[in-house]
């Protein structure tokens, strides 16, 4: 009787450990997704700001908000700062995206599902794609 109970409690703790691990990995995937969305929103806002500044032909200087401080800076300086931000955001998104795939595969592994087939391949270049395009329906 005691032995049985002991066994089941070991099984229960194993199960709990297993479930915790899955939840943790799943949470990780979700937070990465969230991060991409937030970064993309920032990226779009930055892009809108750059465009707005480029269109505005009347003033030489503009207000730029850094943290919780407003600075009056040269428009060209503001544009270059924002463009740099934009590029950094772009790189950051790509980094998070590349990290997402192993995480998803790890989750699938824990859930005893097969790995996604072919997603670890490198994509074809546009030229190569064109040569087989009619096959890719």
């Amino acid at each position: 009787m005691d032995a049985e109970e002991g066994l089941s409690s070991i099984e229960a703790s194993d199960l709990l450990k297993y479930l915790t691990e899955i939840e943790m990995v799943a949470e990780d995937v979700l937070s990465s997704r969230r991060e991409i969305i937030d970064l993309d929103r920032q990226r779009n806002k930055t892009r809108e700001a750059v465009r707005a500044l480029q269109k505005d032909k009347h003033r030489d200087k503009t207000w730029l908000c850094a943290g919780n401080m407003f600075l009056k800076v040269e428009k060209s300086k503001a544009i270059s700062t924002l463009t740099k931000d934009y590029d950094e955001l772009d790189a950051e998104i790509n980094k998070v995206r590349s990290g997402l795939r192993p995480k998803v595969n790890k989750l699938r592994d824990l859930e005893k599902k097969e790995d996604l087939k072919g997603f670890d391949l490198d994509p074809l270049t546009p030229d190569e794609k064109r040569s087989v395009e009619s096959l890719l329906l």
Binding site: I36, E48, F119, S131, S134
Partner: protein, 462 residues
């Protein structure tokens, strides 16, 4: 994102199969459990436990992609489920693994040499997995604003507001984008994707939230959910194409339309070599994976000695699929020679194969199969009739009794009965002869058939 793309993978190549009720349409798989033990009745398979188990083991190896260039021979008497097992393997492999099925006699054609037909069949069974990746902007159009210059001519400028469930943003539009937006007739409420590299706009449908905007709407208006997540997405799609498809596309004289007309003619070996080296290059660069598929050759004894020696050679190439063959012959003459060999296959090829043999069905199994067939053909049959039909199946052949199901059903419907009973079976049994009764009949009345006089006279003179 990865999860979303995973769903897309399933979508590809989902061509609706227009299938009539064929002889093996009830087969859904091999009917094995996780431990590869064959369940007595499962997925349309009945009995043949040993053969199915063997097939299951081979399936596992195929899935691992390990035994490219090996052969399997399924041997057994007629009507013991050889084709059924091959079909089951095809079903169990799923859509991602190429499965080609040909009959041995199919390769004898006037338009194509035997080896060409075989090579094409081989290359149809080798898949190449490739990935395409595109950056797209996907969202619901909130507003399109196009400013036309007052003079009427000159560059137009505009704004496009897009949103997902998470965010909303404004894009400034140039002349080109405005043109393609007008061409696509994109308006507020449409869900669109814009390819970042080419600027191509694709309309996916209208947003559900706009479903009640108008009362009169075209029948083809498709409603879709507003996209989730980020606006600028990376879309990855994995395709599995066969080597043969790539061959056909690149065989210049034909053009890609040839793929659909089915008449591909012969493909030059230079084209094949080029493709082989290109695919090898892609594989080196990590851009492609080779998916060895399965080539099933039914009635393999119909191949002749030239084909066998070709197979011998072709199996050794590094891009060879798994070859499954089926035959119902015992020791017989190899086609194209005077020599006899087991299964009508030369010994040297036979040596490279693993052989699965199928056993004749037992009474219980025949009954089960007939029952499954009744369900497949939507025929109601009572137990007595099924027992009688099983006896017929035991004494004649399984195929004959399966054929009686449909016939008996028609007789039953004619007398406006709801389920087939013993009398219906008896009636069709008397209407349609089975093979042994037909032979019996011929033996009795041979003299009265045409051309009989001639042979009779000849025999007398000789």
């Amino acid at each position: 994102m990865a999860a979303a793309t995973a769903e897309k993978v399933q979508e590809i190549r989902e061509v609706t199969r227009i299938e009539r009720i064929g002889a093996h349409s009830h087969i859904r798989g091999l009917g094995l459990d996780d431990a590869l033990e064959a369940r007595q009745v499962s997925q349309g398979m009945v009995g043949q436990v040993k053969a199915r188990k063997a097939a299951g083991v081979i399936m596992e190896i195929i899935k691992e992609g390990k035994i490219a260039g090996r052969g399997i021979l399924i041997a057994g008497q007629p009507g013991t489920g050889k084709t059924a097992i091959a079909m089951g393997m095809a079903q169990a492999l799923g859509t991602d693994t190429p499965f080609t099925s040909i009959a041995g006699s199919e390769i004898f054609s006037l338009e194509m040499s035997k080896t060409e037909a075989l090579t094409q069949a081989f290359r149809k069974s080798i898949g190449v997995r490739i990935k395409e990746e595109t950056e797209i902007i996907e969202g619901e159009i909130v507003e399109v604003q196009i400013d036309r210059p007052a003079t009427g001519t000159g560059a137009k400028v505009g704004k496009l507001t897009l949103k997902t469930t998470e965010m909303e943003t404004i894009y400034q539009l140039g002349q080109k984008m405005i043109e393609s937006l007008t061409k696509e007739k994109a308006q507020a409420g449409d869900i669109v994707t814009i390819d970042k590299a080419t600027g191509k706009i694709t309309k996916l449908g209208r947003s559900f939230t706009r479903a009640r905007d108008y009362d009169a709407m075209g029948a083809q208006t498709k409603f879709v959910q507003c996209p989730e997540g980020e606006l600028q997405k990376r879309k990855e799609v994995v395709h599995t194409v066969t080597l043969h498809e790539i061959d056909v596309i690149n065989s210049r004289t034909q053009g890609f339309l040839a793929l659909f007309s089915g008449d591909t003619g012969e493909i030059k070996s230079e084209v094949r070599e080029q493709i082989n080296s290109k695919v090898a290059e892609w594989r080196e660069e990590g851009k492609a994976e080779i998916v060895p598929g399965v080539l099933f050759v039914d009635e393999v004894h119909m191949l002749d000695i030239e084909c066998f020696s070709f197979l011998n050679r072709a199996l050794e190439s590094d891009m060879a699929p798994i070859l499954i063959m089926a035959t119902n012959r015992g020791i017989t003459r190899i086609r194209g020679t005077q020599y006899k060999s087991p299964h009508g296959i030369p010994i040297d090829l036979l040596d490279r194969l693993v052989i699965i043999s199928t056993q004749p069905y037992e009474e219980k199994e025949i009954k089960q199969i007939l029952k499954i067939r009744c369900e497949e053909e939507d025929v109601e049959m009572n137990d007595d009739a099924l027992t009688v039909l099983t006896r017929i199946g035991m004494e004649t052949s399984l195929r004959y009794s399966i054929q009686l199901i449909t016939a008996a059903n028609l007789v039953c419907r004619k007398r406006k009965g709801s389920e087939v009973d013993v009398d219906d079976i008896k009636r069709v049994y008397s209407l349609f002869l089975d093979e042994s009764r037909s032979t019996q009949f011929l033996k009795e009345y041979q003299q009265e058939f045409m051309f009989n006089e001639m042979t009779q006279e000849e025999m007398e003179t000789s």
